[in-house]
Symmetry: C2
Subunit: 218 residues, 2 copies
């Protein structure tokens, strides 16, 4: 069935965790099989979208029978590379970093923040939410020791690029960037941004009733 699969489209990829979450709830309820229609209803999507999305991760469901839930969970986890736990570092133990260290929700997706890094001597050597805080100078050695390829970046904006350079030099391949600053990175490094302040700006402008131009950004 592999040849029927297409290159993934981003919106489909971003919906996969929602399927995973619903499917795990069903599995924990002893449900064995799910129809496209049921998944579509649970997620508020059109059935055609569900069918297309799940092509990424599965053989088609049998008509009139649906998808085997265990197989579908395994297929999605396999597609995303979420079969095994992914060790992740967090850089910058300020307010946001501390909040992220305390948040247990990433573990549902097998993302485990195993250690944090900072340049503040008062923080280095301590534990925050039971995670050890190391010196940023030890990043390369620890990345090798823990086999870490992903870093969560939560430093203040003015340190964002410097910290990003240290992350890249440590051999880490992807940065989940929670700062408000876009980063200049080598082309082989993956950057994923969460721009919460930008989201708040968008929300504020929408709430004020201001209109958008639909001309593309320059």
């Amino acid at each position: 069935m592999n040849d029927s699969r297409k290159l993934p489209r981003l919106p489909s990829v971003k919906r996969l965790p929602s399927y995973l979450h619903e499917l795990k709830l069903m599995r924990d309820n002893q449900q064995q099989v799910v129809s496209t229609t049921q998944l579509a209803q649970r997620l508020g999507l059109e059935p055609i979208i569900v069918r297309k999305d799940l092509e990424l991760a599965s053989s088609p469901g049998s008509p009139g029978v649906g998808y085997n839930i265990h197989n579908l969970i395994a297929g999605i986890e396999n597609f995303l590379g979420w079969n095994d736990e992914t060790p992740v570092f967090l850089i910058g133990v300020g307010n946001l970093g501390t909040a992220l260290l305390g948040y247990r929700g990433f573990i549902e997706y097998r993302f485990n923040i195993v250690a944090a890094f900072d340049n503040d001597p008062r923080k280095i050597g301590t534990q925050v939410h039971e995670k050890p805080v190391f010196s940023i100078d030890d990043l390369a050695a620890k990345a090798e020791e823990f086999h870490v390829k992903i870093a969560v970046l939560s430093v203040p904006c003015e340190y964002a690029q410097t910290a990003a350079n240290q992350i890249v030099n440590a051999g880490i391949k992807a940065i989940w960037n929670f700062t408000n600053t876009p980063l200049s990175l080598p082309p082989n490094i993956v950057q994923q941004r969460v721009n919460m302040a930008g989201d708040l700006a968008e929300l504020s402008v929408k709430l004020s009733g201001k209109l958008y131009s639909d001309t593309p950004d320059i």
Copy 2:
């Protein structure tokens, strides 16, 4: 100068908090005036982008002189409606909700989570990070009392739509949705999503080197 302003484009709006952050650092350093070029360098943007973005919030900078920093901060805050503190409610005091209650970073943008709501009797009546936790049944009364128009939604996915309906019924006008579930809302309600699990999925797929189709989503 008003007639020279254009309808805002979304990427420009989302960059405004970064300008605000840099401008406040400069102001706190006693700097009075800033050039387009300096801002562009600090933010890693092209000067033409900076000039266009700041048209939203300001008269043009004087050629050879630049922007008055105090006026530019006021202009951006005025455009975003961030002159005054915005009281916000948080719905769902689980792992993520607790992390968000503990995060002090929103206050830079005048967003103040003044109270939280849950349906768990063990949480109702307590304080979490010094914020009171009320019963979700009291949402409408408290929204009126605190003049709240924005809710942060951080309940588990399976309760997301039910909680969203309660938020809408309470007269709240905007939902900052941190659940993994898109919400069905009346057209006059603003929804802003932070899909962290979806971001992780995107990051995982990019890191695996899988390619994207650039055909539009169906």
